[in-house]
Subunit: 161 residues, 2 copies
Amino acid sequence: MAQEEVQNGEPEKVAEVSFTALKPQLMVEAPKAADAVQFYKTAFGAVEAGRTVYPKRKAEQEQPHVLSAELELAGSTILVSDIADNSTPVKTEGTGCVLCLETEDVEAAIAKAVSAGGVAEGEVTEGDGACCGGRVGKVKDPYGYVWLICSPAKKCGDAEA
Amino acid sequence: MAQEEVQNGEPEKVAEVSFTALKPQLMVEAPKAADAVQFYKTAFGAVEAGRTVYPKRKAEQEQPHVLSAELELAGSTILVSDIADNSTPVKTEGTGCVLCLETEDVEAAIAKAVSAGGVAEGEVTEGDGACCGGRVGKVKDPYGYVWLICSPAKKCGDAEA
């Protein structure tokens, strides 16, 4: 693999690059992005920082197509976007991205998300996996995304050491 | 939907919940998580903050199973985890989560990611969609995840206004 060739240093011909922000973008089947934004506000207390929509719809009664809604959540920013059936999907082929939310009160957070329309999956467990230790529960939101609700991460250590 | 019933206020019986961190967790087909971590370091300059692995492998020559590797990237934290074929997948059914990385130099960032083994998809475009304006390119990493490489977001506005 290419990265093997450069793992001991920067590739020589490639410029130094810095990144100013990382924002997970959740694609939602159109026109449900507006509903998803409302869910993330109610379930997790996300705060909407802005929204860009297509100005015109084919019919008056249609929901506007959300190009991107920006939500502040737990010190991070997430984007929520409608993706139309006929658009080229920006579809990941990865095994799956989940979103890990850390909180002091895992049970209360799950209860709140469930009361907003999420579905708790499995029991809250004590694990040392996903989030480097502590309590972990799982909620699937109405738009198909899985959220791990975790107690704050302990510093990851190498269990081999 | 349940959230309709509570959108004008907190549900009465549910505790106030606050979240301290949001960490996207990328599930990678085992045992490729270690390779993925190396790729994110080389391609994006991610810095590994810790790694938790299963202490024992079935065979000496096997790669350790990465429960969770924690990477600092663009002021955020991402987790990378091996997911075994026979485990219950924490699989999202969402239309797909992509990761939007903001940088001043979209072309250089894409070139660097490609030199590390990523695949550029399509051209860099000027859009007002995904990241609220500016230049956007797309790179698929060797583990199936799509990264949008975007110029820093302008403030999202409502295009209807």
